[in-house]
Structure formats: structure tokens, C-alpha cells
Symmetry: C2
Subunit: 198 residues, 2 copies
């Protein structure tokens, strides 16, 4: 059972994602969700709070989707890591979230609009990224890969690069580029296991 609050946050997330935060007025969110203005301000103190709620929903939904994609691919941790990249490609192609095309990463976009590191939306974006890195570290550890923290940071950086490239340049194939790079980097890390010369 979806509450009016859920309708609101859902609609807000979609509009913010497609058109940006500052460019999306609450009147549009209200008319598209069919919710009255007073109801909005009963649930949220301000538009900023609605933005935060939308980003929290996005964080939860995106990470759940990504982890599910990775985990359904295999039971092997290393294969699960590599499964991140085909998952990204389906996202880039607009096939990941129903009724929602690809407009880049909502959190990179949020950090762009709210450039100040102290802004709550920017902090939320940083948290989102950190949570994903944490998950990758876990998988690297399970896979028995050397320097799991360092390798997870590398894979996360590939993910960010693929997202930015796919969106700005309209190049969904960036996922495949990142995939190839990940393979090389993981093999290189393995080759240096116990042989960390240089």
C-alpha cells in the first residue's frame, strides 16, 4: 500500500533525475503525483527535505538493484565483481529501472548541483558512493584478492568513469571498456600476490 508520501517521493525522484533539482518546481511534482500542496508540507518541511528523501530512495533502490544483479550472476565472488559491468550497461541502455531512462548517476548530478561538500545532498551522495565501495571491498575479500580495499577503490573508479562517459558522451559501450580494464587490473593484482615487488 503506497502512501501519499511515497507517491510524492517517487514522482519527485523521477523528475529530479530527468530534469535536475533546481529546474524542477514543486508544482510540477504535485500535479504529476496528484498530491495537494498542503500534503507535501505536512510530510516535509521544505523542498530540500523532499530532495533528500528522493535521494535516499534512490540510494536504497539503486544499491539493491546493483547487488541483486551481481549476486544473481554467480556464487563466485570474483565473477560477481565482474558482473557489475554488464549490469551497468543495461542501466546505460535504459533497461534497468522501468519507466526511467538513463540520465547519469543521480548522485554525481546532485553533487554537481550542490557543489558545496557540506550540503546535505552532497554528503548523501558521498555516502552512497562509500556504501558501494564497502560492498566491493567485501566481495574482493571474499574472492581472496590481494589488497581488497585498494582493488575495490579501483573498480569503483572504473564504475564512475563508465557512468560519466556513458552519460556525457552518450556511450553506453563505456561499460565494456571498463569491464576489459577491470579484468586486466584484477589479473595484475593476482599476479602480484605475494610478489609485491616495485
Amino acid at each position: 500500500m503506497k502512501s501519499r508520501r511515497d507517491d510524492l517521493v517517487e514522482t519527485a525522484l523521477n523528475l529530479f533525475y530527468v530534469h535536475g533539482f533546481n529546474a524542477t518546481g514543486i508544482d510540477r511534482i504535485l500535479s504529476e503525483s496528484g498530491v495537494a500542496k498542503m500534503t507535501l508540507y505536512k510530510h516535509f518541511r521544505s523542498k530540500d527535505e523532499l530532495i533528500l528523501a528522493a535521494l535516499q530512495l534512490r540510494d536504497e533502490r539503486f544499491r539493491n538493484w546493483l547487488m541483486a544483479e551481481m549476486e544473481k550472476s554467480s556464487t563466485d565472488p570474483e565473477e560477481r565483481l565482474m558482473a557489475m559491468f554488464p549490469a551497468l550497461e543495461t542501466w546505460f541502455l535504459g533497461k534497468a529501472f522501468k519507466g526511467m531512462g538513463f540520465y547519469g548517476c543521480a548522485f554525481i548530478n546532485a553533487a554537481g548541483e550542490f557543489g558545496d561538500q557540506a550540503h546535505p545532498a552532497h554528503r548523501l551522495a558521498a555516502e552512497h558512493k562509500r556504501r558501494i565501495v564497502d560492498y566491493l571491498v567485501e566481495l574482493c575479500r571474499d574472492a581472496g584478492l590481494p589488497d581488497p580495499e585498494g582493488l575495490a577503490e579501483q573498480l569503483a573508479l572504473l564504475k564512475e568513469g563508465a557512468i560519466a562517459t556513458a552519460h556525457v558522451r552518450n556511450m553506453p559501450e563505456a561499460a565494456r571498456t571498463a569491464e576489459k580494464m577491470a579484468r586486466v587490473l584484477i589479473e595484475s593484482a593476482k599476479a602480484r600476490r605475494g610478489n609485491p615487488a616495485e
Copy 2:
């Protein structure tokens, strides 16, 4: 001799970069640049045109800076490629452009606010990224590296990933992560030279 138009575009670029495009009103650009409103609309038809002019200035200035940083590092093409990453780090630390802190990539930010691929600002962002890739391809070729186009795309992807990571998570050290990755990828490409098995 700087014209009023230059003052306008310069101030606009700074404000757009720090606060975002939609969040920056013309009145603020006018008051900070000390230019009258009618002068703006004599030089530009609309705010959108001013945004495009600011992004064009940014494109020119950023690429000139990056290429100069890379070229002053060495005469060897491969070393020049690798010099991109220390250059990125000085940027992330706010030491690249005087009086201008680091607020991510202006073009990633623009693509975020103007999500539609057909929007002129988004297209300009894509062009900016393509021009940088072109330069990297050229360097890869000069360095005699195999598959220069593919390798340049990889290095560009590392650059995007480092930028996004440095900005969203406030991690300037992402430049060093990307640098290490680049070294591995270049060595791997060389090792497969004439031996493109698998």
C-alpha cells in the same frame, strides 16, 4: 584589453561552476561583474547563450591548461600521458586555476543539469570530452602504443572516474589511484603487442 563581454563570460563561468547553472541568476552575474543588464542582452540573446559562451571559455582554458601540464613534463609521449594524473591532482587540490576551487568537471555538471542529450550545453560537454580523447589518441600513437584509440578511451575513462570520485567523495587522492591503474593498463597493452592472444 578585456571587454565587457569578457568580464561577463569570466564572471558567469566562475559562478556557474561553483553554484550551478540554474541556481545562478543573471542579476548576480551582473552585480559581481559590474556590468549593466542591457549590456548583457546586447552581447547575448539569452542566459542560455551566456551559458554556452562560458562553457566554450572553459573548454578552451581547461584543455590548454591540461595539455600544457602534460607537455611541460617531458618530451616523451608516454611520460606525457602519465603526466595527466599528477596534473589532475593539482586541479583536485584547487591549485590549477587561480581563484577557482575544485567543484568537479564543469561539463559533467552541465550534462547533469541539462540531461537531455540534444541540449546545446550537453552537446558542448560531449565535444569537450571528445577533444580530450582525440589528444590522448594522438599521444598514444606517438608513443607507439598498440591500439591507440582503445587505450586512449581507457585513459579518458580513468580521468572521468578520478574526477567524479574526487568531487563527490572529496578524495583528491583518486588521481593517484587512477595513475596506478594507468600504469598497469599501459604495461598490459605493451605486453600484448604483437601477441594479441585472447
